[in-house]
């Protein structure tokens, strides 16, 4: 039994060395592995042959890693002077920067479908319409690393104009798939902005979506829709202008009723 527990201790030692090697193989350079193999040979017995084999396999793996680390170290020693000389003789910013750029990567994170973005969308699209009650997200859902994207209101005149101009732009490419329509909008915030325009246009009946072909196309009564849209816009503008005129008229009438007040304002 003593023999078995000693073997198990040896196994733990091997596992510990494996962990160290995984984080930094250079640590193995200073480790003396010979005592491990000596100890193993002294503890060998037919009963625990399975455990002994596992230790041997682990030990040889670590030995292989150590040899690799030593090879790398020797290589580094011999090349250190060469690399130093290269850096000393090449101070050109563009050359050095191009070397860095060739191997520059960036971690892949999807901030545009993050919880913060989705909650903000929910607040803008649903809560503002007062169709649902407020939902308070648990604080741990919102990560510091996530960036929020400013949302927009579909009621504003500018957005309506933008949607209309977007619709005019895509008329030539229709019928086609969603990816083709949004091909020019690779930036995530732009992509989702124009995606929402498509949803809006579909809901308003300007676009038609075929689930089987997955194609968007112009609605059959397109002309009528466009005319309706134009009429709606003109009417809105006319109403606004009438309101304004009415307001001015009221003001003039009020001023005529109170000439002193008018006089006062002129003096200023």
């Amino acid at each position: 039994m003593v023999n078995r527990s000693e073997l198990q201790d040896l196994m733990k030692e091997i596992e510990e060395l494996e962990k160290q090697a995984n984080s930094d193989t250079d640590q193995l350079i200073d480790k003396d592995l010979i005592p491990i193999f000596h100890k193993l040979s002294s503890l060998l017995n037919p009963k625990d042959i399975d455990l002994a084999l596992s230790i041997l396999q682990g030990g040889t793996d670590i030995l292989r890693l150590k040899i690799e680390a030593i090879k790398q170290y020797i290589l580094l020693l011999s090349q250190r002077e060469l690399i130093d000389a290269f850096l000393e003789n090449n101070s050109d910013d563009i050359l050095l920067n191009s070397l860095l750029k060739r191997f520059w990567i960036s971690p892949f994170q999807i901030s545009s479908i993050s919880s913060k973005y989705l909650i903000k969308s929910y607040q803008n699209l649903v809560l503002e319409k007062k169709s649902r009650s407020a939902y308070s997200p648990p604080s741990e859902l919102v990560s510091n690393s996530e960036k929020s994207v400013e949302m927009f209101s579909l009621d504003s005149k500018e957005i309506q104009e933008e949607i209309h101009s977007f619709y005019q732009n895509i008329l030539n490419v229709l019928p086609c798939e969603l990816s083709v329509i949004l091909h020019n909008y690779q930036n995530p915030s732009q992509y989702f902005r124009h995606f929402s325009y498509i949803l809006h246009l579909t809901q308003e009946g300007f676009l038609k979506y075929d689930q089987q072909t997955k194609f968007f196309s112009i609605a059959a009564d397109k002309e009528e829709r466009v005319e309706k849209y134009e009429r709606k816009r003109e009417k809105k503008e006319m109403d606004e202008s009438n309101e304004k005129k009415k307001g001015n008229l009221n003001k003039i009438v009020n001023q005529d009723e109170n000439p002193n007040e008018r006089k006062g304002s002129e003096e200023i």
Binding site: N22, S23, D26, L76, Q79, R80, L82, I83, D84, A85, F86, L87, E88, N89, N90, S91, D92, D93, I94, L95, L96, N97, L99, L100, K101, R102, F103, W104, I105, S106, P107, F108, Q109, I110, S143, N144, S145, Q186
Partner: protein, 186 residues
């Protein structure tokens, strides 16, 4: 949910770590042990199975300009956008700042060959500039280096932005080539 779905989540999982070294240390992806545990792999061939799975996953996502990368500074596997993609969409931080990129390149190489933090004075000497203080400040702000008095060390986040092994091989290769050219001309 299949293994690829799970891998996408595990390899892009991001956490912010509070540390004494810096406020903004990020931890993205998973270590080999965490991946083996989360994917439910077991037995003595678990590691081989994981490598095979990562290889086939990497093949599948290559079409999206993504790759599976190991952070050499913390041994975590994570999902990364390839240098070609970053170049074409212009999101490389050194796109129009060659001087800053060159200073970082010299710092990384010097630290890698000395295997310890490097002196500011040594970097200034190699760069042959009047001052590199502004470069160092900008790089520290970008969380690529840590400045402690006169010493410069690499920020742990840098492992997520540079393919260290291929970068170092290229530096070695260029140094050898430059030495050969020098000796043949002399």
């Amino acid at each position: 949910m299949n293994e690829f779905c799970l891998l996408t989540h595990l390899l892009s999982d991001t956490q912010i770590i509070n540390s004494d070294i810096s406020d903004n240390i990020i931890s993205i992806g998973c270590t080999e042990d965490q991946l083996i545990k989360s994917l439910g792999l077991s037995g003595k061939y678990a590691k081989i199975q994981l490598i095979q799975l990562l290889n086939s996953y990497a093949q599948a996502i290559r079409v999206f300009g993504l790759r599976v990368q190991k952070n050499q500074l913390n041994q975590r596997w994570f999902l990364a956008k390839s240098p070609e993609i970053l170049e074409s969409i212009g999101s490389n931080p050194f796109q129009n700042k060659p001087r800053l990129g060159a200073t970082l390149m010299v710092i990384i190489t010097s630290i890698m060959i000395s295997k310890s933090p490097v002196d500011k004075a040594r970097i200034l000497e190699i760069r042959k500039k009047q001052s590199i203080e502004e470069d160092l400040k900008a790089l520290a702000k970008m969380n690529f280096i840590i400045i402690s008095k006169s010493k410069i060390s690499l920020h742990p986040n840098l492992g997520y932005y540079l393919d260290f092994s291929n970068f170092f091989s290229a530096v070695e290769h260029l140094s050898l080539k430059s030495d050969n050219q020098k000796s043949s001309s002399s």
